[in-house]
């Protein structure tokens, strides 16, 4: 069972649809008990960094997620990926979950449109089980104005948009996709399948 964490931020149903399509059992929940029973967790998110952290705090889920991430695979998607890092700089400096070393700041891409929206080609960096089956040059669907800044050893897939934009990051059990795997066609589904099949 995969639990999609419901904390009032983001389109949970698209992720659920993709998991259903792939044949993985999943539940959308904010119940600590239900989250504790799940084998894996997905942290979605659309919106702004401070708002998402505020909502997680109000839901009393920050410690729950941090504790569970030590034992269970956790996948953050889009803003859910950004808040895995230590600090966010959207509007104001905000503490993140701190599960991966690094920070989140505005994309610096002079002459390019912000948000970075659309299908960008990725390059491979550090080996990560979620990137199995993804080739150099495959395109994934991104929609964001902020990006993670972290060591290359934490980056499995990245794209370039003015800056280097981490696409798939990881540290131990904790994974994050800046792109939307649930909206990235067959390659995106492959990445979700890789997550679903982690043991």
């Amino acid at each position: 069972m995969i639990a999609i964490i419901d904390y009032g931020a983001g389109n949970l149903f698209s992720v659920k649809n993709a998991l259903d399509f792939l044949g993985f059992e999943s539940v959308i929940s904010s119940e600590k008990g239900q989250l504790a029973e799940a084998e894996k967790l997905i942290l979605p998110g659309v919106g702004a960094f401070p708002d998402a952290m505020g909502k997680l705090e109000s839901a009393g889920l920050i410690d729950t997620i941090i504790n569970m991430s030590e034992k269970k695979p956790l996948l953050g998607i889009c803003l859910g990926m950004q808040i895995l890092f230590e600090w966010g700089y959207e509007f104001e400096k905000t503490r993140g979950l701190g599960l991966i070393a690094g920070k989140v700041e505005r994309i610096n891409a002079p002459g390019l449109k912000i948000p970075h929206m659309g299908w960008s080609d990725v390059r491979r960096a550090a080996e990560c089980p979620l990137a199995a089956g993804v080739s150099e040059g495959d395109r994934l669907y991104f929609v964001h104005s902020y990006k993670a800044v972290t060591d290359m050893e934490n980056i499995s897939l990245y794209t370039e948009y003015g800056d280097l934009i981490p696409g798939l990051v990881f540290k131990g059990n904790v994974f994050g996709c800046q792109f939307h795997p649930e909206k990235s066609g067959g390659i995106g589904l492959r990445i979700l399948k890789n997550f679903g099949e982690l043991t």
């Binding site: 149903f13 948000p115 929206m117 659309g118 080609d121 669907y141 909206k183 990235s184 067959g186 589904l189």
Partner: protein
Amino acid sequence: MLAKRIIPCLDVRDGKVVKGINFVGIKEVGDPVERAMFYNEMGADEIVFLDITATHEGRGTMADVVRRTAENVFVPLTVGGGIRSTDDFRTLLRAGADKVSVNSAAIKNPELISDAASSFGSQCVVVAIDAKRAAAQNGDEAPRYHIFVHGGRIDTGKDAVKWAIEAERRGAGEILLTSMDTDGTKNGFDIDMLNAICSVVNIPVIASGGGGHIGDFTEVFQKTDADAALAASIFHYGELSVGDVKKALAETGVPVRIV
């Protein structure tokens, strides 16, 4: 680097895909969910549903079409047609749409753009502009374009370039620009109009109206800064496939997503 997007558009009425035949009759031509799945397999980068349902009951059907499509198609899904309020946005986003496009209602009430952007984020707010070149007046240095509403029947007299700037300022995340001059002609996209709009906004612009041949798609990306090109009939009737268009674009050096 971002790929240029190819977007098939489906006109939906009462839950069925329809196509106008020379503006005389409307023919039902199938199930939108099946068509969307087909386009997805062909490599569509996004799917647009345009709801042309006239009745209130039919509107609920659209949310159901979106819901069933979102269960089977895993690329971005945009829905437009008759959107009047942030409640309409909420209904369609909950059903699984990724973006919602507004047209007439936003012209009547521009606050709708700002309200939707602040409630749901700019990334899901598309402003659709139907425009037509206006007769030149004395002193015009550049062509002027007027916005048309109600399926292109009514000239609002409003300037499309100024409206595009306002839409971006109010939080639109994207502009879907249809030229009423080229729409249905299959003679190519409206390069002049696209350049007029692309040069004043810093958000993505989707070119619509006039795409009839493979060369029209290469031309629009070579001669304008459009981020995407949308077409309905030619994909619908199989005159061109999404895959063939993308292959041709790739051969001319336009970055595209090949599946």
